[in-house]
């Protein structure tokens, strides 16, 4: 299971970084989302991977670590809000600046005058 989780995190980070390096706001927002998924799974696995165990201490002999689960929950909420904000900001920038390039202007257009 560890190997598969590691591969999943690696794959998500790979796609996320690739998309973030695209210079358009929508792919960047998608890339950030993928990156935050990867980080969330990573955080989750930091409590060690176990299946079918309660996240409560004292009810059974072994248990899963509840702290990373709480951390992931916080991270998801914050990440969700930030992504929503980024999308609205990108829309606003697209409408006002007339381009979805992250620099707010197209390189090619500068050659015209």
């Amino acid at each position: 299971m560890e190997l598969w989780i590691a591969c999943a995190i690696g794959g998500l980070v790979f796609c996320g970084v690739y998309l973030i390096l695209r210079a358009r706001t929508f792919p960047v927002a998608l890339g950030l989302t993928l990156l935050s998924y990867a980080i969330n799974i990573f955080l989750f696995s930091m409590g060690r991977l176990k299946t079918g165990q309660p996240a409560v201490i004292g009810t059974s002999a072994s248990y899963t670590d509840p702290v990373p689960q709480a951390l992931v929950l916080t991270a998801i909420v914050i990440g969700f809000a930030m992504t929503a904000f980024l999308l609205i900001l990108s829309l606003r920038a697209y409408v006002i600046l007339g381009t979805d390039h992250v620099d707010g202007s197209e390189k090619n257009k500068q050659e015209a005058p």
Partner: protein, 497 residues
């Protein structure tokens, strides 16, 4: 356990929530509440400062869950000092904004208070994950504050700023997760204890986590390879926002200071001195780059933004030298640079409002409406920032230069003096263009607002006060530096209960 410790975090949060319910039509009600809250925050911060002055580290356990299991707020001299710096800055910035800039967008005061809550929380928390949460609070407030007043230039810089900081937040979680995975705790004091005993592979993983976090804090502090967002963002922000942002880079530097002195502190064996040499080189390069940028800047605002970089470089140099004298000098310089730069940002806005369409562009334009007052204030601010006697920049830089030892001494002296010279040239060139070279008549839309001017005077005037009261301030900074270099006290209070 005094409940006063939690107030700087809770009060702005509550007031911010309250203010977001007050509609923008009731602007005077908003202003009164906001100003009263900022004043109350200053009083609380000063009380906390006197509490910290008595020595010892105060711990506030949320919900009475003790460290390392519960979330704790920790008040030591350093956090008290930074809280007071922030509160003082916030009060004057708030006073400036009330003169009219708060109406250029919506919900300014609510966002302002949320930003303060995030900053204060970051200074107080003793827990790595809570530091992340406070960073997020201050960031999301700063995103919207940066956009205050809208406009194409602000949108452009905000897109960069938001994307970069979102990547930074992801990396923060990565670092914090790595720390938890290895050490099983996120309490900074508990982490420090663990790092000291770590063996073999654990040590390497902890160092990797440390480097990841250093990268994140570096992005906030904006040192060399991570600084690209700063000049554009600070130059395009509305004046009160840019002035408040003067403390934002210091939040990153504060976190670095905690990492180097506490988590990877002096007594932690093989991990001691973690990354300091690299930071020193980066600091010098940042300082130089900031000075060159300031010299090359075409507008007053972007010049000031590069001056922020110079101050970041200077502070980082002090932190990376790590000795008691160097930290003392850095803390003193931190006070000076935060208030001084913030004051200059406010002053730049006052000047821009009297120059018609040219605004802050450094070209010959119409004469100013009130050149004497603004010019005198610019002169004081410029002399203090460049580090010439008799103002605070001189005391700060001199004590930093004196603190340097060994091979670092030569490099530091050359860089600081060279950077100061370039900054001085840039400031004097800007001053002569703004105040001495002009054509035509005074711009008909030129305005002068006395309350706004008073805030700028108060912040820049701190440079004079910091010299008059240099002895007690330096004594407090020295005591803070001593406390930082003896993390045993911090550890005892957290885990000895």
């Amino acid at each position: 356990m005094s409940h006063l410790i939690v107030v700087p975090f809770i009060l702005p949060l509550l007031i911010g929530a309250l203010l977001s319910w007050v509609k923008d039509e009731h602007i005077s009600l908003q202003r009164n509440i906001s100003l009263a809250a900022s004043l109350a925050l200053l009083v609380v911060a000063l009380l906390l400062l006197s509490m910290a002055e008595q020595g010892g580290v105060q711990v506030y356990s949320m919900g009475n869950w003790h460290a390392p299991f519960g979330i704790v707020l920790v008040l030591d001299r350093l956090s008290a000092l930074l809280l007071a710096t922030t509160a003082m800055l916030a009060l004057w910035v708030n006073f400036y904004a009330v003169a009219g800039d708060d109406q250029r967008g919506r919900n300014f005061h609510a966002l302002f208070q949320f930003q303060l809550a995030g900053i204060n929380g970051a200074f107080l928390t003793g827990d790595l994950f809570n530091l992340f949460v406070c960073f997020e609070i201050l960031l999301i407030a700063s995103y919207t504050l940066l956009l205050h007043g809208l406009g194409a230039e602000r949108l452009r810089s905000a897109v960069h700023y938001v994307i970069l900081n979102l990547v930074g937040s992801s990396l923060f979680l990565l670092g914090a997760g790595l720390f938890y995975g290895v050490a099983g705790t996120l309490n900074m004091a508990d982490l420090a204890r663990f790092v000291a005993q770590a063996q073999g592979d654990e040590q390497y993983l902890l160092q990797a986590a440390g480097w990841v976090l250093l990268l994140v804090f570096g992005l906030k502090a904006a040192f060399l390879p991570l600084h690209f967002w700063l000049p554009r963002a600070y130059a395009s922000a509305t004046a009160p926002v840019a002035a408040l942002f003067a403390i934002m880079t210091k939040v990153g530097l504060y976190a670095i200071l905690r990492m180097t002195t506490l988590v990877f502190g002096g007594q932690t064996g093989a991990a001691a001195g973690f990354g300091l040499d690299v930071l020193f080189v980066i600091a010098l390069l940042t300082m130089m780059l900031g000075a060159i940028g300031a010299f090359a800047a075409g507008t007053l605002h972007s010049m000031l933004a590069y001056l922020v970089l110079v101050s970041v470089g200077t502070l980082l140099a002090g932190i990376s030298m790590g000795s008691e004298a160097a930290l003392t000098a850095s803390l003193y310089y931190l006070l000076h640079s935060t208030w001084g730069i913030a004051g200059l940002f406010l002053l730049a806005d006052l000047i821009a409002k009297q120059r018609g369409k040219l605004k802050g562009i450094l070209r010959t334009g119409a004469p100013l409406l009130t050149p004497a007052r603004l010019g005198a204030l610019f002169f004081v601010g410029a002399v203090a920032t460049a580090g010439l006697p008799p103002f605070s920049g001189f005391v700060g830089k001199l004590s930093l230069l004196q603190a340097a030892q060994g091979i670092q001494q030569g490099f530091l002296w050359v860089t600081v003096l060279l950077a100061s010279l370039v900054v001085l040239l840039a400031l004097s060139r800007a001053g002569s263009v703004l105040f001495w070279q002009h054509t035509g008549a005074i711009d008909e839309h030129a305005r002068f607002s006395t309350p706004a001017f008073v805030s700028a005077v108060a912040l820049i005037g701190s440079g004079v006060l910091l010299v008059i009261f240099a002895e007690p301030v330096l004594a407090f900074c020295q005591a803070s530096a001593q406390q930082l270099l003896q993390p045993e006290l911090y550890l005892q209070q957290l885990t000895g209960e």
